[in-house]
């Protein structure tokens, strides 16, 4: 059987399949459906310094092969995560990776400092690309100087693997990727959701309470794949790819484009077992193609 292990700096994943922040809760929600210990890692729901109620309902709209969300980082705050949630999931045989958010650089720093102290947490994902909050979020991720500033600040207070999650809502994603690499990111993950909108023609109103929201799902896959391919050729740090992955073939495409690991997002809503099926599918693909280590796939796209 192929070696599925992948290394992202010091973070070792038993396989390249992880679940995307905000689409997998804290893992527990899926415990009835799959064995969580099989996963390479779980990127848990976005965390902030203080409790956040998130945006008003409606927060969701279905679109062609995708969905919009405008959750707005509802969570009980970092302290509650560390004291109440993490102890319940820390013994899972998979990497638990918190997704760190803030309205200001100081908030990012404070959340990170707390996580730096937590034993068992070997990496964080810095979310500078949330399109659903009024302050901070995506604003950090669409300008190179601010992306660099927040990465740099967080890097100074975090000793373990730092993954920075990029926004696709930019003219040139390689520029931001290079910026955060320079500021000390150990890896980049991409993409977060696309700023988008849904309207109800009958009521003439926006469907979401926030008017705009973030588009995810297979609709965005071709754009996400292009961005992963571009970023892979622009930076030296590992790339974690996501955006519309629905099955093992999609996952393999992202790896061929340059991803070392992948995240499964919206697909979890449609099939709560899909992440495990993707692991199995990658195994089968490796076997059928005589691939001894899954990392051989990363960037193996053949361009004639």
């Amino acid at each position: 059987m192929a070696d599925l292990t992948v290394k992202i700096k010091d973070l070792v994943l038993k396989n390249p399949v992880t679940t995307a922040s905000g689409t997998f809760g804290f893992g527990e929600e899926f415990a009835d459906f799959i064995d969580l210990n099989l996963l390479g890692g779980i990127f848990v729901k976005g965390l902030t310094l203080k409790l956040r109620e998130g945006n008003d309902y409606p927060r969701m709209a279905e679109t062609a092969s995708g969905m919009l969300n405008a959750v707005g980082l509802q969570n009980k705050g970092i302290d509650y995560f560390i004291s109440d949630i993490y102890p319940r999931i820390k013994d899972l045989d998979t990497e638990i990776i918190p997704n760190v958010n803030g309205s200001t650089v100081e908030e990012y720093i404070e959340v990170t400092e707390k996580l730096n102290e937590v034993e068992g947490i070997n990496a964080i994902e810095l979310n500078i690309s949330c399109p659903n909050v009024k302050e901070g979020g995506m604003a950090f991720g669409v300008s190179c100087p601010s992306a660099i500033a927040v990465t740099d600040a967080v890097r100074k207070v975090f000793d373990k693997t730092l993954i920075v999650k990029l926004s696709p809502n930019v003219t040139d994603i390689t520029e931001i990727a290079k910026g955060v690499e320079g500021a000390g990111a150990d890896a980049v993950s991409l993409v977060n959701t696309f700023l988008a909108m849904a309207i109800d023609a009958k009521t003439r109103k926006p469907v979401l309470s926030t008017v705009t929201g973030g588009l995810s799902g297979p609709a965005i896959k071709p754009i996400a794949l292009r961005m992963v391919w571009q970023v892979y050729h622009a930076v030296k740090v590992p790339v974690i790819g996501l955006g519309g992955i629905m099955n093992a073939t999609d996952a393999i495409e992202f790896m061929l484009a340059g991803a070392k690991a992948i995240q499964v997002g919206t697909a979890n809503f449609i099939d709560p077992q899909v992440s495990v099926k993707i692991i199995e599918g990658i195994e089968t693909y490796c076997k059928e193609n005589n691939i001894s280590s899954v990392s051989e796939l990363t960037g193996a796209l053949e361009i004639s």
Binding site: G22, T23, F24, G25, E29, F30, D32, F33, K45, E53, G54, D56, Y57, P58, R59, M60, E62, T63, A64, S65, G66, M67, N69, V71, Q74, G217, T266, N268, F269, I270, D271, P272, Q273
Partner: protein, 256 residues
């Protein structure tokens, strides 16, 4: 335990132009279902339907391994689920959500509007087992929208209001005479359009009658992972899919 399971379409029973009962069968055993639980259904062969659709469990037959849903056509998914051929495979996540509470009540009122009648066969059956006297009150625009009264008859008294007066009392449910003595009930269960639920909850509150409402917020995951389905409560935003769909009306931050 929540489960994901393959079923097949067994049969339909159409009740009017837009409402039907869909019965599914499975080769595997059926998980225990409580009144109020719902399922997330993957609509097969539907190009425009991306997410699963939450539908209350109308009835369950453990012995014959059947699940029945009462569905009203309001859009793409509910239309497609009414057009499948017997034998079509259909994948279900269930049982999801909490359920109605029953705590030694003596005399209860159940109010349903639209597809909101769906959870009440299971509830009626449970109440009957516990010898609780049950009144059903169904509201609709017109007679042809009041369906399945003969089924509900088995579990209690059935009343109706219609806006056009074609069946039962003319008007909205809250205009039914039964409300003149509402304090005679020690609990109201309700599922239906938001305005109906709010109006009833308001009266219930005024008369200090316990009131449980079942919400139908739009959902993406159905299992508490996406936080899309929230409703405001006195203790912050809660997920309708896991903390609900049933809430005590006092908990809800409804402006009523």
């Amino acid at each position: 335990m929540k489960k994901i399971q393959d079923f097949k379409v067994k049969e339909y029973r159409w009740l009017n132009e837009t409402g039907y009962l869909l019965t599914l069968y499975s080769d595997q055993t059926i998980e225990p279902v409580s009144p109020g639980n719902f399922a997330e259904i993957k609509v097969p062969d539907a190009p425009d339907v991306f997410l699963r659709r939450p539908i209350s469990i109308f009835d369950v037959d453990y012995e014959n391994r059947l699940l029945t849903f009462y569905i009203k056509v309001v859009g793409k998914g509910t239309k497609k689920m009414g057009e499948l051929n017997p034998g079509t495979p259909i994948n279900i996540m269930y049982p999801l959500g909490n359920s109605f509470t029953v705590n030694g009540e003596k005399n209860v009122l159940i109010i349903g509007g639209g597809s909101g009648i769906a959870p009440f066969i299971l509830l009626g059956r449970e109440l009957q087992k516990k010898n609780i006297s049950t009144t059903f009150l169904f509201g609709a625009r017109s007679k042809n929208e009041i369906v399945l009264t003969e089924e509900f008859d088995k579990y209690g008294r059935v009343l109706a209001t219609t806006e056009d007066g074609s069946m039962g009392e003319k008007g909205l449910v809250t205009q039914h005479p039964v409300f003149s003595d509402i304090s005679g009930f020690d609990k109201i269960y309700i599922c239906g359009p938001d305005p109906m639920m709010k109006a009833v909850a308001k009266i219930a509150g005024e008369h200090q009658v316990d009131c449980e409402v079942s919400l139908e917020n739009m959902m993406a995951c159905g299992i508490g992972a996406c936080l899309c389905c929230v409703t405001k409560t006195t203790s912050g935003n809660k997920c309708v899919c896991t903390d609900g769909p049933v809430f005590n009306s006092k908990e809800l931050a409804w402006q009523i």
